[in-house]
């Protein structure tokens, strides 16, 4: 049986099919959670923001325009929710490398992890929030350049610039590990 697209599931959910929402949720729960988690300072806040994002999605389901790309719509809502959180807190909060650890992971466990992974996390934490979000939309959300621009509310060139810079930084961090 052919797997239904996000847009078909969204249309069915908007029409009242709960199973369609379950399928959508199952498909996007992990990437969206990590997208939020990689941007905030602690897992508890990430949980709140993740749940709040989905609640906004649920409330906004009637405003979804049939045919619009679901994934970009989902991440746009989550992006706005995270931005609101940062506005309420201190703007441009910089993440510390330890904030990138998985929830529930202690320092000792972190030490034992692959060096490559920790370097990557560290490099991600050192990016500016805008560059970090651009690369997370690509790596976790799987969005194309135009969708990233739409989610961030910037033009395509700006989105590409942020992405290029972020990728260069992460690549450099991995090179350092190899050397």
């Amino acid at each position: 049986m052919r797997e239904r697209s996000d847009e078909e599931l969204m249309a069915n959910w908007a029409a009242g099919e709960f199973g369609a929402f379950e399928a959508l949720y199952e498909r996007h729960r992990g990437p969206l959670y990590r997208y939020v988690l990689r941007q905030v300072s602690d897992p508890a806040t990430a949980n709140d923001l993740y749940q709040g994002s989905w609640e906004k999605v649920i409330r906004a389901r009637r405003s979804w325009r049939p045919g619009a790309p679901f994934r970009a719509w989902l991440y746009r809502i989550a992006h706005n929710h995270v931005v609101d959180h940062f506005r309420r807190q201190r703007p441009e909060t910089e993440l510390q490398p330890e904030c990138m650890e998985s929830p529930g992971e202690g320092p000792e466990q972190a030490l034992g992890r692959e060096h490559r992974e920790s370097r990557l996390k560290e490099a991600l934490a050192q990016l500016s929030p805008k560059q970090r979000e651009a690369v997370l939309l690509k790596l976790e959300g799987g969005l194309d350049l135009q969708s990233i621009a739409n989610v961030l509310g910037v033009n395509r060139e700006t989105a590409k610039s942020r992405l290029r810079y972020a990728v260069a930084q992460l690549k450099e961090a991995l090179k350092e590990r190899e050397s």
Partner: protein
């Protein structure tokens, strides 16, 4: 002349770097939302759908109830006012719409066979102290116009009803005396019974004798 656009070297390099980075990224630990969080989100979505479903039947029910109330309100307000919409008979004697209908019936009805005096309804209304209910007037008029002798004096009830449309006692007595002179005894007796029913206290001249039992 248009030239087919191809990705720039810069774009190609970015795509290649992203592919490599994605591969490294996917090898990282994949954090997942806690199970309780999943349940909370799914419950929110389920509640949202159920509340919408519960509200849906109330939507048409509410509309139906509103329409029903509107119809009832129109019925209550409009129907009692309807008779008042009809213009009353005017003083010039031109019949109002309902009087017009009675007049049409009168024209089509046969003339009375007897010589009983015509009843002037307007005059009778003016002469009688107690005004007739508006709804009774057309029925009374139609009855008076029927002209059938048997109907006219069918019962005392009818006589009482018609008293409002009848002559004053003096004029009536004159007509009764005329009937006696002409020897129309049956009509005289019926007339006397009607007179007594209409004017029980009014004295009759001795020539008319005692009223029939």
């Amino acid at each position: 002349m248009t030239r087919k656009t191809t990705p720039s070297t810069d774009d190609r390099r970015l795509s290649k770097d992203l592919e490599q980075l994605q591969s490294d990224w996917n090898r990282m630990e994949r954090a997942e939302p806690p199970g309780l969080l999943d349940q909370a989100v799914l419950n929110t979505a389920r509640r949202d759908l159920e509340s919408k479903k519960r509200r849906r039947p109330l939507g048409w029910l509410g509309g139906f109830a509103t329409a029903t109330v509107a119809v009832l309100a129109i019925t209550v307000v409009w129907l009692p006012e309807r008779p008042a919409d009809l213009p009353p008979p005017d003083a010039t004697g031109v019949p109002a719409p309902r009087d017009k209908a009675a007049a049409m019936m009168q024209e089509s009805a046969p003339e009375p066979r007897n010589a009983a005096p015509p009843i002037d309804v307007q005059k009778a209304r003016r002469l009688n102290a107690a005004p007739a209910p508006a709804a009774d007037a057309p029925a009374l008029e139609m009855k008076a116009r029927r002209g059938e002798k048997g109907d006219f004096m069918a019962s005392e009830r009818d006589a009482v009803l018609e008293k409002e449309a009848l002559l004053p006692p003096e004029a009536w007595i004159k007509q009764l005396l005329a009937l006696k002179q002409e020897g129309r005894i049956e009509e005289l007796e019926a007339g006397l019974r009607a007179f007594r029913a209409a004017y029980p206290e009014h004295p009759l001249p001795g020539s008319l004798g005692q009223s029939p039992p």
